[in-house]
Structures are given as C-alpha cells and as structure tokens.
Symmetry: C2
Subunit: 211 residues, 2 copies
C-alpha cells in the first residue's frame, strides 16, 4: 500500500528521523537503510527527496542551527536588555535544543563524527559571529569594553569556547572551573574590561547542570 505525501512533509519526516539517529548513533554509523526503514519508505523515495546522505546531514544541520540562531538573534536585538545579560540569553539559546539530547555531546567527539562536528561548528560560527560582533560593538559604544578588532575577538573566543568546552563536558568539576575561570579572565583582557565584570554574567552558563 502506497502512501503519498507532499514533498515538504516527507522531507521533514526524513529529517526528523535522521536528526535523531545522527544524534544517537553518529553520522557514519547511521546507514541510509536505517533512516528509510524508520521513516517507512523505499530507497528510491529517500533519493527522490535528497541527492545524497551528506545532503541529508547538511539539511539536518541547517534546520537545527537555523532554529538556534533565530532564537539567539531575537535576543540580540532586544536593546533594552543590558549587553551582558543579552549575551547570557544568547548562549543559553544555543545550549537548549530539544531532540539532540544529552547523548549528542558524547557522540560528537567520537572520531567517526568529525564531519558532523565540523559542519556544525562552521555553521554556528558563521551565524553567531555577526551577532557577537554586534554585541561587542555595543559594549564599546557603552564604554564597558575596548578593542580595535571586535570581529576577531568574537571569532577567537567563540571558536575556542566551542572547541575547548565541548571537550570539557567530560572532565572533572575541578578542571572545568579552572578552564572557565581562565577563559573569562582572557576574555576580559581581550576586551579590556574591568576585572570581574564578565565573571558574574557568564560563569553560571558553565555550571554542571547546564553542561
């Protein structure tokens, strides 16, 4: 018995399943067969909607990161909220994404998921950088920080945070505290902020329950 649906609907069904499987088993260890069986379609149908397995990955990432960036973007715009507080809200928007449960963080560091990890990082960086740069520029205008290179500071810190801290989720409480303290210390130096002014805004983001 053949069930016909609109392309958009089918595509989303496929992406839903793929997102879940990629998140739990990893990209390499999820076969296209796994996906099409769970969706309940034939091989040909899968390749009618997507040209390749990698295109499915790209679409999954685009949909997921797109949502996260949209949320972060709305926070970024609310100029009535103080800059530091907005930063907190934006970063939280990135961390809370249903679907990619707790398993993802373990998954994403396994070597087999290098491709997924890289693509996510690239997309996230491209989307977040303008937002973060904007925030820093606001901070400069408000006189709470100073730098000649806001975009590069944003790039450097966000990139580092992403790479270092997702490896950090696995480590001890002790190591985490050291790393986060150092990170904020460095960030304050890069932006020539008052010592400790960033601490209270950002530190809670890295507490155990958030990671």
């Amino acid at each position: 018995m053949r069930i016909v649906k609109e392309a958009e609907e089918r595509k989303n069904e496929i992406l839903d399943v793929a997102e879940r499987l990629f998140g739990t088993k990893g990209f390499d260890h999820t076969s296209t067969g796994d996906i099409l069986v769970e969706v309940g379609i034939a091989r040909g149908t899968l390749y009618y909607h997507f040209q390749s397995k990698e295109e499915i990955l790209d679409a999954v990432i685009e949909r997921m990161i797109g949502q996260m960036l949209a949320k972060a973007g709305t926070f970024a715009k609310q100029k009535e909220i103080p800059v530091l507080q907005r930063l907190t809200l934006m970063i939280r928007a990135l961390q809370i994404n249903e679907g990619w449960g707790d398993g993802l963080m373990e998954q994403i560091h396994k070597p087999q998921n290098a491709l997924m990890h890289q693509k996510i990082q690239e997309r996230l960086l491209a989307g977040m950088n303008p937002l973060l740069t904007g925030l820093i520029e606001e901070g400069i205008a408000a006189g709470i920080c100073h730098t000649d290179y806001p975009a590069e500071v944003a790039e450097m810190t966000f990139l580092y945070a992403n790479t270092a801290f997702d490896a950090l989720a696995v480590q001890t409480e002790e190591a985490r505290r050291q790393k986060t303290t150092a990170f904020i210390y460095n960030l304050e130096r890069l932006l020539q902020m008052e010592q400790g002014s960033m601490m209270q805004a950002v530190l809670p983001l890295f507490s155990a329950d958030v990671l």
Copy 2:
C-alpha cells in the same frame, strides 16, 4: 614471486604510500585498494600489518606530527636563543614538512577530510601546548609578558591560529593581513606585552610565501 620483508620496513612502505595518497586525494577518497596496489602487496598483507584503515591514518599522523614536534622540541630547549625568536623557529618547524606538499592545505578543508583534520589538530595541540606554555612561562620570568593562565593562553591562541589560519590560506592578501594583525594584537593583550613587541617576531611567519 613473493617478496618478504621485515615488518618495520613494510609498515613504513605502507605509511609512505598512505601519507602521499591521503595528502593528495584525501582520506575518504583513498581506498585501501589504492594503497595496496601502489605498495605492491595483497589485501591480506595490508591487514596483517594494520588492523584497519583508520589505524593506518593514526600511524601516518603519529609519524608525521611526531617528527614535527621533535623538531619544535629541540628549538624549545635552546635557552640561549631569545624567547620570541625561538617561537618563530618552532612554528616554522611545523610548517616545513616535506611530503605533505602544497596540496594538503586545500585537501584538508574539504569536508571529506574532517576526520584527518581533527586528528591532526588534536595531536598537534597535545604536543605543542606544553612547549608553548613553557615559552610563556619563560617570558613571564623574563618580565616580557604577564598572565595567570599561561597554559590556557597557549591553548586558546594555538587552537585559534590552527583553525582560522588554515582557512586563511585560501583568502586574499588583504584579509590575511587584517586577520594576522588582529591576531597579534590580541595575543599581546592576552599576555600583556608591550604593543608591537610580538609583531616583528611573528608577522613574517604569515607572509605569502610561507603560507
């Protein structure tokens, strides 16, 4: 006609070919078949010496990065050379590696090489961090820089340099200059060095002929 060699010799033959192919065609696009044909051995022989294709990659990386780190390490120890000059020498030691010709930099950013890229970065970071941290500590002792977190500064800057600058090789001269200037500016801030003191030591490393 069967040719028998000592295991070490065969292993190195395999690694030589694998290194060249991974560097030119990428890891995913190099099949074990490609390797064993060029070495001139049978499938079984390849898997007699290595348990899997990934183990070959690991061995290739270990051998290559090991050599680079050894060179960098010898420079790091020569305390009669000024710290900044030693830094230059060490970084040069990483860039000059025969075999992985110019093609590698283009290769390594293609999505299919994410795994190789990640493994190289991880190994390089693990090896370089102690050396760089040592240098910074010497700098602190000499009074030319100041930070409470030398290891984290080393990690942050090296990680960023690796990620940002290998993407940079493709870009315009203009963009490169902006990024490198910003990078050094930020590095001087992180280490509270005199403005411009790092510039002359590090800038030549990023000129067109080196990249």
